[in-house]
């Protein structure tokens, strides 16, 4: 083997190291043979690809205009491997071209591309002259990986948790309610008549969160409860499974489980006869209940009106339900979460809320619907420690954006964005503070009932 070939081989091995470190992928590959790979790929493409796949594949003219849209491409010196079209070439195109006769080595890279180098952020869709939905093609690749049993370990574990408990972090039913009681008790030190209403049939609002909130971000429940209380909201939370609106199954390609989760969530809200679901500051969960999971269940839109926190907070301000007491004077910048900005158009409402509480807001560019992803979304951060560096290195453009603002505070109304940006801030020594909208509102709103 020539020196160049050896060096190339070593470089590829280096690139794939996170996959080697992931038993979910490697042990899954051990069980596969060529015939199974070919059968599963072809069955999935035939049964689920349909006209949409055909159109997306045959429309692409390989112009590469999608490339500059991708933070991975921009962060890797414009390496074509990381261009959206390059990712499709390394995944679904090759499966189609070879009619499913692909090697295990190919699948290693395909899993890596699909699960850790694409956030399904859909920025590239906007830059494609034909609007080709690369995220759909990558999701289809993940679906094939799911059926082959080679999904990364940590996100697979969250999918298992969803299936067993209807929440993504193995939170048991008593732990959930007990966490709410704990936050309610804590809050009564500040607001003596504070309540987190449970199982209140006929309330206006069903407030739902993702499982990381009771698990390790309980302050968000506290803050949301205080905001609800001070706003005089008629609200409730559920004590039964269904309270978690998150959905890693959507990202692993376990669509049957995605449908089960969304059915549970919506039916739990309908059980309590609420008018709307207000959900915490999470992007992917919004995508699942507003766009993806609901449709798998055959709901054309949403069986219960869904309102993201950004939208809800803007409503509270607009209607005068909450009032600003103090404003942040430090320089603040805004990160736009893909699923609620490109996916829902909440960029102006987000700015209305941030500007209401912050005097010195500086934008990072590109922003709003042209924002760069946090590189944690799309289930990438949920693939766990082996792949952490992939998403950090793959988003130096976000680090540059953040640095250039000179801001000391970043507002990111999304859990995954928080995880991703926190890592970027830390790895790049940016020294910035990261906040949810709830953090800011809770701290700077008027609280007439507080002692």
């Amino acid at each position: 083997m020539s020196e160049t070939a050896t060096a190339t081989k070593e470089k590829e091995k280096d690139l794939l190291q996170p996959i080697y470190d992931d038993p979910g992928v490697m042990k899954g590959l051990e069980k596969l043979d060529e015939a199974t790979i070919e059968r599963v790929i072809n069955q999935t493409l035939e049964a689920e690809g349909g006209a949409r796949l055909k159109i997306l594949v045959e429309t692409c003219v390989h112009c590469g205009l999608c490339s500059d849209a991708c933070h991975f491409f921009m962060s890797h010196d414009r390496d074509p491997k990381y261009a959206p079209v390059g990712k499709v070439k390394q995944t679904i195109w090759e499966m189609l071209r070879k009619k499913g006769k692909v090697s295990k080595e190919f699948l290693m890279r395909a899993v890596q591309v699909a699960h850790t180098e694409c956030n399904l952020c859909r920025r590239c869709v906007q830059y494609c002259p034909f609007g080709i939905d690369t995220a759909h093609l990558i999701s289809l690749t993940r679906r094939i990986c799911h059926k082959l049993g080679i999904t990364p370990q940590y996100i697979q574990d969250t999918a298992h948790s969803h299936s067993a408990t209807y929440n993504q972090m193995w939170v048991k039913e008593d732990e959930w309610t007990d966490s709410l009681f704990w936050q309610e008790d804590e809050s009564r030190d500040e607001i003596p008549n504070m309540r987190i209403p449970l199982e209140k049939e006929g309330a206006d609002i069903y407030y739902s969160v993702i499982a990381p909130e009771p698990k390790f971000r309980t302050q968000l429940i506290y803050q949301a409860a205080v905001i609800m209380h001070e706003a005089g909201a008629d609200w409730t939370m559920s004590s039964l499974p269904g309270w978690d609106n998150s959905d890693m199954c959507m990202f692993t390609g376990d669509l049957e489980m995605m449908g089960r989760l969304k059915r549970r969530h919506f039916e739990d809200a309908m059980r309590l006869k609420v008018k709307r679901i207000v959900m915490g500051e999470c992007g992917h969960a919004f995508r699942s209940i507003y766009d993806t999971g609901n449709r798998w269940d055959a709901w054309e839109s949403m069986p219960v009106t869904i309102q993201h926190s950004v939208d809800f907070f803007e409503e509270l301000l607009r209607l005068g339900k909450i009032k600003v007491k103090t404003k942040i004077q430090e320089k603040v910048t805004i990160h736009d979460p893909c699923n609620i900005i490109r996916g829902r158009g909440l960029q102006e409402k987000l700015r209305t809320v941030v500007h209401a509480f912050c005097d010195n807001v500086v934008e990072m560019y590109p922003n709003k619907e042209h924002n760069y992803c946090c590189s944690a979304g799309g289930g990438v951060i949920n693939c766990g420690p082996p792949h952490k560096n992939t998403r950090i290195v793959g988003n130096s453009v976000k680090a540059d954006q953040l640095r250039e603002t000179g801001a000391s505070i970043v507002v990111a109304p999304c859990h995954n964005c928080h995880g991703g940006i926190e890592d970027i801030i830390h790895a790049n020594h940016l020294g910035m503070e990261l906040k949810f909208l709830g953090d800011i509102i809770y701290e700077h709103m008027e609280k007439p009932d507080a002692i």
Binding site: Q153, E173, D174, L198, L240, D254, R260, A298, W299
Partner: protein, 423 residues
């Protein structure tokens, strides 16, 4: 079970108590629940105390003598006993009409009632082990986790999904080997599955069926621990036919949904969705919620979908006691309505509550909320002449001649008995 014919069915309005009535010094009263016989209204009460949190229940304004650190989930049993989940010294129990069960637990939740026998059960956690307690008696064996409890019709048994094996953190391989089963009164089946969901008893309480996954991709139904032979793309909750003991469940094939009976298709998979199967008591009629086209929802009876549909969603499906009629509430353009026997009644509302059939199956009533928040009762398509601040689901007299309206009206909880002929 208290005989409903002994309840006061004399026509007329009875003022039970002022909504905010409280015999003690209460800081606040929480959301009300009302008894099936309409005679009682109960609310969790926070007692004013400078030193510590003190809670109890107010029933028709009278506070229980016993007080607790916390009370939640007040619920009336079918025979109108008031239950609540209460804690003392950080230990929890269920309290019935002010009397706590003797046993204490780390936590207690999800109170369940048998329809006829008077049995009361709840999920409990003790020392991070999970099980159920019925009428004060806990299961003999507890588990690492439990979910999806169901009580047998006579209240003698509780079945639940149980986790029978420990799954170390992020151990996806142990999970895939199958760590879940179903336990009946604490005794697990002899077989594990990757997942179990939604167990259900047969009419006699002798058999249990549940939806299972045998791998991440293969769904089927297991009856008393034995899985059907075939595997399907996805399946929903099973139901026993009360007439012959067969088991049905909706299954997915080729992206469409149909109904299976004992592992054979009885409704070909042609629906965009199919769930919530429900039998008539004699097993002759099988109803289910279906979406015959994408985003259009209705009821199918023995495989044939109704013509009337809702555009957005459907919620509670209710079958008449004689099994020949059905009603479903649903939503179109953000407004709720009702379809009864494939006829959509006039009227759209901000909210609709589950339909109720009279014992003779001739009448249907349901509670609705208007856009201004006022509520009333609709009976056979006709609204009661008056709106209320709040109204609970209507209750029919056993002879089907009267309907009881339980409502908040002008700050007073009332019980109004109306002859159906005068509605």
């Amino acid at each position: 079970m208290k005989d409903a014919s002994l309840w006061d069915w004399n026509p007329g309005e009875k003022e039970i108590v002022a909504y905010d009535a409280c015999s003690g010094d209460c800081e606040w009263l929480e959301e009300p629940v009302v008894s099936p016989d309409g005679e009682k209204i109960a609310r969790v009460a926070k007692i004013r105390d400078e030193e510590e949190a003190v809670f109890t229940l107010a029933v028709n304004g009278e506070l229980w003598e016993s007080t607790f650190e916390r009370c939640w989930y007040p619920r009336f049993s079918p025979d109108s006993r008031l239950t609540a989940l209460c804690s003392e010294m950080a230990e929890w129990t269920l309290v019935v009409d002010g009397e706590p069960w003797e046993e204490r637990y780390g936590f207690i939740w999800d109170t369940r009632f048998a329809k006829d026998s008077g049995a009361i059960a709840a999920a409990v956690q003790q020392d991070m082990q999970y099980g159920y307690v019925k009428d004060g008696e806990p299961w003999g064996e507890f588990f690492e986790n439990t979910n999806h409890p169901v009580m047998s019709p006579d209240g003698s048994k509780i079945a639940s999904v149980v986790q029978t094996r420990n799954i170390p953190q992020a151990d996806i391989f142990t999970f895939k080997e199958g760590c879940f089963s179903v336990a009946v009164n604490g005794e697990p089946w002899d077989r594990n599955f990757v997942n179990c969901w939604d167990p259900v008893f047969d009419a006699k309480g002798e058999s249990v069926a549940t939806t299972v996954r045998t791998s991440l991709y293969d769904y089927t139904i297991a009856v008393d621990g034995r899985a059907w032979n075939s595997r399907y793309q996805c399946m929903w909750e099973p139901r026993f036919n009360p007439g012959n003991g067969s088991v049905v469940a909706a299954g997915r094939q080729g992206g469409k949904w149909g109904m299976l009976k004992d592992d054979e298709w009885i409704w070909e998979p042609r629906f965009f969705q199919c769930w919530k199967p429900a039998f008539s008591d004699d097993g002759a009629n099988l109803y289910a919620v279906v979406a015959p086209s994408f985003g259009r929802w209705t009821v199918a009876v023995n495989g044939k979908a109704w013509g009337e549909k809702f555009k957005q969603a459907v919620s509670d499906l209710v079958i008449s006691p004689d099994g020949k009629r059905a009603a479903i509430i649903g939503k179109t353009d953000e407004q709720w309505g009702i379809i009864v026997d494939d006829t959509r009644w006039v009227g759209w509302f901000a909210m609709a509550y589950p339909p109720v059939f009279s014992p003779d199956s001739r009448h249907v009533g349901y509670a609705v909320e208007r856009k201004d928040g006022q509520m009333t009762i609709i009976l056979d398509g006709h609204a009661y002449h008056k709106d209320f601040d709040k109204a609970w689901s209507p209750v029919f007299s056993p002879d089907s001649q009267h309907v009881m309206i339980r409502c908040l009206d002008g700050g007073v909880y009332k019980r109004i008995v109306v002859p159906i002929s005068e509605f």
